[in-house]
Symmetry: C2
Subunit: 328 residues, 2 copies
Amino acid sequence: MPNKIDVTLGIDIGGTNTVFGFVDRQGNCVAESSIPTNPYEAAESLFARLHLEIIELKKKITDNYNFIGIGIGAPNANYYKGTVELPPNLNWGYVNVLEIVQKYFDIPSAITNDANAAAIGEMKFGAAKGMKDFIVITLGTGLGSGIVSNGELIYGADGFAGEIGHTIFDPNGRQCGCGRKGCLETYASASGIRRTVYELLCDSNDESELRKISFADLTAKTISEAALKGDKIALHAFDYTGKILGIKLADAVAHTSPEAIILFGGLAASGKLIFEPTQKYMEEYMLNIFKNKVKLIPSALTNGNSAVLGASALIWNEIDKQHELIAR
Amino acid sequence: MPNKIDVTLGIDIGGTNTVFGFVDRQGNCVAESSIPTNPYEAAESLFARLHLEIIELKKKITDNYNFIGIGIGAPNANYYKGTVELPPNLNWGYVNVLEIVQKYFDIPSAITNDANAAAIGEMKFGAAKGMKDFIVITLGTGLGSGIVSNGELIYGADGFAGEIGHTIFDPNGRQCGCGRKGCLETYASASGIRRTVYELLCDSNDESELRKISFADLTAKTISEAALKGDKIALHAFDYTGKILGIKLADAVAHTSPEAIILFGGLAASGKLIFEPTQKYMEEYMLNIFKNKVKLIPSALTNGNSAVLGASALIWNEIDKQHELIAR
């Protein structure tokens, strides 16, 4: 009988779907599935459903693979405590997710937020292989970030480090979901660029196909498509988004001096529409000693669902750290 | 014969004086001296003079102490390369300081900038003992910073991490020595508060004893003394300085989530005049998950010249890391 290959399970809990898959040590997703996330359902109930689905998926691979760990990416997750705390899109309150998981599976498990999972995913399997200092920025509905320094993810004193989306661009700026004003994510995110388009539609008289779309229907994808067709408002919106993101990334560089900043998620898929202005303004506002040193690159988590790869990488990283300790 | 006690030499190279002293493992400075720094003198020449002075100082302690390492704090120093690069107040250009030092002393040596040295000093001997995540802010002529995460100083990819003084508060703000505009240190530093006083003297008609002092003669100490006497302009200047520092410290917390932020240096000596507004505005502008968690505390490097203690701590830290590696 040939040796079985070790795999870990990556679980990404999103507001709409919970996606999960078995991933090997090289970052190949060997089996993947998903279930809908019901925002009104308790965490216990979601994990009861998820447990049954995992058992089913595991049956498909059990002849060739050993299942050795679980990594979870979830909103407002705390790595140290194993908890999820008041997630914005789920009616969970405070819940200890790792305790629930350990009722079903007696194997190593870990949880963190999706941006931190993405950062570890890039380090293990993606664009940050071999890097010891880098930042991942996830540009989704909001803006998340995971910061790696000295080869380790920064969780900080309380486990919540890496909230670059909630650094303040303008203390008198746009209202943010966090209750303050002018946070970076109110400008640089899928929802931020939508707000920018509406601001520009109001300020300028330029013709734009975006004038026909309601605020509710407008998406980053629509804006991206309009920009590719040369729509002035859409192009201006990308430039403005890149400017504010670039200014705040120059600030982030002044904190931890990364080798690279990796853009990840929906808005990053707009490619050079977002990369070019971000790079340009980041360099323009960069302190001289850091100029032309920091690479701005796209995610390279491509062998499966990137969020699942990130969640799996989280627990692979823990398992590898344990092996290193034992080997000493 | 009793066992000799190990000491390291801490050297702080400032624009006016170079201070140096032998410091034991507990952070006690057992002998200290200084020589003037001539800004027009080459690094080689300064170290030739310094070498003779160190030999003299060492004679005084040689019966009881072993001299086992050298730590240096200097402006624009690069930990990885051992260099000092274009220091603002010294006519050095690019120079490899560790190579010069090793001509005179065949013992472990390390160099970093003064703010990083201060951070390691607080971790080894001062207010951050036992902490794994904290930030030191040095409020001198400029604003320096040293960031510790996961128990290690963040040097970043290029060795220059921790430039919070050059994060941008206002892209259209005050001219900074770095060539950009609106850097934090143009507001929150001894020179920044002086600029603020002049802005307030211009904007307001309030009586102030500071109206009698020229810009060139005005110092943070004068402003502090006026504030203690209730001078409205001086008090307003401290409030404004604390507001901008507080806003940008809230940003720094969103990056690395420190347990504490330690204020160090001349302006920090103004005590509650600067601590109270900084704390108030930092909390006001803090993301909810970090509110009321981060301690704002003064430096506790008190058993000698704090810059010498910091520089010594840098090499103690290296020596301890080597011992840990050997012990494994």
